[in-house]
């Protein structure tokens, strides 16, 4: 019954630290990671089967991507300035992260991964903070929500690009993108075709709907990459070259989610999948922390502390700069823009998910990068929630500072 003990350790510790963080009105994500660090490999080493907890965590990532795919709503792109806002957010923050990565001595690939982690804000923290801090009536709230949607699109693209770089070469990127695109079309058409058949199944009152949804999620994300492999091999003689290509399971889950959002009767069931997502995603954060190889010498070295401080400073500055540009263009006000910057400062789940999906959790080669991003996310989710909460005051203070200087 050791698995039960493991489950008890995970759920009880996450519950305790999660409650504490809610009580202190802080983001819960770092609390779960810290619970994992304390009880896992670097800490008391209480877990019997790391593999088991890691598996459960992976389900969380798949469900998270499924959820995002489902909530993904592209309609907003038609509003004026939206594309500009999304691109500004991406270029400013990605370039800032990438340059800093190179400066602190990371390889090109590592700098690319770091830049992706720096760019992506935490939708979970940002959105709950908009609701809790009563910002929804302001026009910039819509801009911020839109930025979160845009970041989801970029996340999907980054994941495709990064997994293809990791499994092959740069030359594979166009092929990967094309194959993934083909694949999305395939999923969308298939779900469209099947919707007449599956739609009534979702309306049943027994266990069939929830079984069906998990069958679709697990079925697609397990079979799709294999199917692709087989068809690529079958195509190899025709094309004259053999293609090695890997499509990530989480990408499949993402597009399955967006395909299912078109099936009306699924809406009712979606609430149930959210509960599963919340549970397994918490386990994922724990498992990430638990596998993290915490090395005190590395973390306390002057070089590491300096790099981390620079990274955090650059990340905060980056969001304020992109926010200011967006605010000036979309809302005609620098102060509004600074508020956008403050609201989008928190980083969290996506930076960690990206890292876990792209390089796995237990590879020795990326030790510095892993430590850097884990420390980074823990600190920036806390600072970020503070910024998001006091966005209006921060915006005003910076404006006062700017006016004084001029």
């Amino acid at each position: 019954m050791t698995f039960l003990l493991d489950l008890a350790i995970v759920t009880v510790s996450c519950l305790a630290l999660g409650l504490a963080s809610k009580y202190l009105r802080q983001a819960a994500i770092p609390a779960y990671i810290i619970a994992g660090i304390i009880l896992g490999k670097s800490g008391f080493d209480f877990i019997t089967s790391y593999e088991f907890v890691e598996w459960l965590g992976k389900i969380g990532v798949i469900l998270l991507m499924f959820y995002i795919g489902h909530e993904f709503n592209f309609k907003g792109i038609k509003e004026p300035g939206r594309v500009f806002a999304g691109c500004t957010d991406f270029f400013v923050n990605f370039i800032a992260g990438f340059s800093l990565g190179l400066v602190i001595g990371l390889s090109l690939l590592e700098a690319f991964i770091l830049a992706s982690a720096v760019y992506i804000s935490s939708s979970a923290i940002v959105i709950s903070s908009l609701i809790e801090n009563k910002r929804l009536i302001y026009p910039e709230a819509e801009t911020v929500v839109w930025l979160m949607v845009f970041e989801d699109i970029i996340l999907a693209i980054l994941l495709v690009v990064l997994t293809s770089i990791m499994s092959g070469s740069l030359a594979m990127i166009p092929v990967s993108l094309a194959t993934t695109l083909l694949f999305i079309v395939f999923i969308l058409v298939l779900i469209g075709r099947l919707s007449n058949f599956i739609s009534p199944l979702f309306e049943r009152d027994d266990e069939i709907p929830i079984l069906l949804i998990f069958a679709l999620i697990f079925g697609f994300s397990a079979l799709a990459p294999r199917l692709l492999d087989i068809s690529l091999q079958a195509l190899a003689p025709l094309l004259g070259i053999s293609l090695q290509f890997h499509i990530s399971e989480v990408i499949v889950a993402f597009f399955l989610g967006s395909a299912l959002s078109g099936v009306k009767s699924f809406r009712k069931l979606f609430g149930a999948t959210i509960s599963f997502k919340n549970l397994f995603l918490t386990i994922f954060f724990f498992s990430f922390g638990m596998l993290f190889q915490f090395q005190f010498e590395t973390l306390s070295s002057a070089y590491f502390v300096l790099a981390l401080t620079a990274l955090i400073t650059i990340s905060i500055l980056g969001k304020f700069v992109s926010g200011a540009l967006i605010g000036k263009r979309l809302h005609g006000s620098l102060e509004t823009g600074l508020r956008v910057g403050a609201y989008t400062t928190p980083r969290g789940e996506f930076s960690i998910v990206l890292l876990a999906v792209v390089i796995g959790m237990e590879t020795g080669n990326y030790e510095l990068l892993l430590s850097l991003v884990v420390a980074y996310v823990i600190i920036l989710s806390l600072i970020g929630s503070f910024f998001a909460k006091h966005g209006d005051m921060i915006g005003k203070a910076i404006m006062a500072g700017i006016n004084k200087l001029l």
Binding site: E71, F72, N73, K75, G76, S123, I127, L130, I131, K134, L136, I137, A141, E142, V145, M148, V149, D392
Partner: protein, 160 residues
Amino acid sequence: MRISELPEIGTKYEIESPKGDKVAVIFLTTGEIALYVLEAGAEKPSVTRLTAEEARRVGSVLTGAMLTIEHEDVEVSFSEISDLRINIHICPVTKYVIGKSIEDLAIRKKTGVTIIAVSRRGQSIISPPPEMVLEEGDLIVVIGEHEQIRACAREILGIK
């Protein structure tokens, strides 16, 4: 009225008055409804979160559907049949109807409203017979749609 979709949050309906006051209603994905009021020039909005039931009550007050009579008005809805809303209203009898029988008044024929009970001297008579004559001090309990009840109050009871 501006309507915008906020993914992962809900749907936002927003109105700005000529004075610059803003009111926003946000149907959250949690099923709750957030009601924002931001006065022109105010620093922070006032916000309340309503359940679906509370929001409907506020809504019916705002649409003026409730009658401006001192007595109570109850709306009954059923979770099974979501589009069925029965309005039960209590009206005091007025000089226009005292001394007349329910049959004579022909309330249902004229307005579609049905009298389901009469309260007389603290005693309730459920499903009163058509020949029952209304007396001073009676309270009549009627059901019908908002518009019908309003018509009944205006045309039969003479309440403006």
